[in-house]
Symmetry: C2
Subunit: 374 residues, 2 copies
């Protein structure tokens, strides 16, 4: 894998780059749709390409439980299993273990948890996470880290930083000592933790940088902290992390979060907002968000967004979409998902274009002023 | 609208024809996917065209309740509302009133019922059904008939035949006396009732034929009677109904039903089997039905049907489909629906081809022998 910055904005840290993987090139800044369980909910790989997705994310925790690592390995990897031939990034499974499963015990050795599906007991370690992600065939493997909850006290965050350092070394050792399964490169991104403490963030960044070959992630944000604190951490990371590697901000965010993070040097994002909100009827337009279930769209025969060129807007009206949500027809979930993903991926494309053109700051200021507060 | 028989099989009553409507030509025999509430569940109009749907069916009862006739009329008709520019047939609403709603009173004047959604009271008459279907913009309007349940006694069926005659006259009068709403032709199909009584069927056919301009329907079948009795009625209809008009067998059926009905001179079909079964995981293959939820498909990386060229079979494995059903991912419902609709519409195309080629009897015998009992 390799990463090449094409152009950096003169007024901010925004940059546009190319990240080369064995499953194709990714133009950054990029947003990665979340394909939790081997599918981006409601849509096909072909639709993901139509909205110009370049890389998607898979959730290790979910895939490990269902359909299981062995099956995906036998299928020839996740790309082949779900028929997605572009790059895939998998998370480490840790975040879901901490947030979704019933956590039984966490030690320096690993994490014992019970499946949220059937209560069965499992044990996840740095080595196990690497083994699973290798089997899943992902192009980008995330390090197994400890991500404390948003309301964790400083001692807990400190301990997580310390444990994350112990674990990154075991992750690396596993990958070095065990042969690859597939004939494409799988690159691990270390994850910087440290909550909103600049001291701990600095410590964690220093811990992680030596393990980064081509990419680092900023974890432990968007877990409940205030927005200014989040952006402060991102600014600090912009200073500390190597400029010649991609930076991935995990689990972020709204469209204004994305723009403000790109301004601070972030290259990669993932978030369930566009897909989850779509399924709740919340749709993005250039004039702000609308909820398509609203009575006022009953007789509105305009598209969701007049300026949008997605399949949904080209073919269907707000009135029809509202009807589909009203009768709980799953076609509505899909049409909404396509629109919101198109909106997000189009936003990333606009950012790349404006960075390239040299007017990113002007463009982003206008966008942020125009867009209603999220 | 006009109908032209292109070729009739020498060994059976099967024929292939062209039915011309203002929204395009329909090659028969044809199967009409059911778009209950302004959408064929889970799929887009563009996908319906990809599986070669030529005409779809809309349910008047459902559309009248939600989103309502006024809205669809304001949208410019059902074609425009749902973005389907090929022909549409709507049923009369009667069948759902009799089977789904709470029926309060039925007289020669009309039917009083309560909505299955909110218990609200409504009154449906032949005139009202015509008015609604006109507003819905359908190319083919179904007469408002009385369809007795499958276990009805002979007196009830006799009374239904009598009432259906009274009502067809009022349907026709409404259409003659009231100006059209859209600038395309909307043709009414009368419906022959009479249960499995050849005497009552004869009576009803004689009642209905004078009202048929270009098409008649055989109603009141597939409501619980034995298969041989159903085919006997269809044979009788083949003799009694004019050869120069299309015959539409309502609510039928399995693939072997379709073939055996085409042998008996039927041209048009609708049924929820391909779409509903798909959503239950039951998929059609050239070797019989399979249920994709079955454990035995867990590691089966073959397509649903090796000979199938649908989008689902070209891109996804049984194993993946099973996983999607297992995690209740709606993408699975869609991929299954596409496959089953493709199977049905491909079957109709095969029938047309073999009628044209002159070996329909040979082909259908082979198909029926090969296909496991449904």
């Amino acid at each position: 894998m390799n990463f090449k910055v094409l152009k950096t904005d003169t007024n901010s840290s925004a940059r546009t780059s190319i990240l080369k993987t064995d499953h194709g090139e990714i133009q950054t800044p990029i947003f990665m749709p979340v394909g939790t369980q081997g599918a981006v909910k409601t849509v096909t790989p072909s639709e993901l390409k139509t909205v110009r997705s370049q890389i998607i994310l898979g959730n290790t925790y979910h895939l490990y439980l269902r359909p299981g690592t062995e099956l995906i390995n036998q299928a020839g990897g996740l790309h082949k299993f779900m028929n997605w031939d572009l790059p895939i990034l998998t998370d480490s499974g840790g975040f879901q273990v901490f947030s979704l499963a019933r956590l039984n015990k966490i030690t320096d050795e690993g994490v014992e948890f019970q499946s949220h599906l059937d209560g069965s007991s499992h044990y996840l370690t740095p080595e196990k996470s690497m083994e699973i992600q290798r089997s899943l065939s992902s192009d980008i493997i995330m390090a197994f880290d400890e991500c404390p909850p948003g309301d964790a006290d400083i001692a807990t965050i400190k301990s997580a930083v310390k444990r994350t350092k112990i674990w990154i070394d075991r992750c690396k050792r596993y990958l070095v000592e065990n042969p690859p399964i597939y004939n494409w490169e799988q690159t691990m991104f270390p994850i910087v933790q440290g909550g909103v403490s600049s001291e701990l963030r600095k410590q964690s960044a220093e811990d992680m940088i030596p393990y980064a070959k081509c990419g680092l992630a900023i974890g432990g944000l968007a877990v409940g902290e205030e927005k200014p604190a989040m952006f402060e951490v991102i600014e600090q990371m912009d200073e500390l992390l190597p400029k010649d590697q991609p930076r991935y901000l995990m689990g972020v965010g709204t469209s204004s979060d994305l723009i403000q993070s790109v301004q601070r040097g972030v290259d990669m994002f993932d978030c369930v907002i566009p897909t989850r909100n779509a399924r709740n009827g919340q749709l993005f337009t250039h004039n702000g968000k609308i909820n398509i279930r609203n009575e006022k769209y009953k007789f509105d025969f305009n598209p969701i967004d007049e300026n949008c060129e997605c399949e949904t807007c080209r073919n269907f009206s707000r009135s029809y979409l509202r009807h589909l949500f009203n009768i709980k027809e799953v076609l509505g979930l899909r049409l909404a998902t396509i629109h919101n993903l198109h909106y997000y991926l189009n936003l990333m494309e606009l950012m790349r274009e404006h960075i390239q053109k040299g007017d990113f700051s002007k463009w982003s200021e206008k966008y942020l002023n125009n867009y209603e507060k999220e």
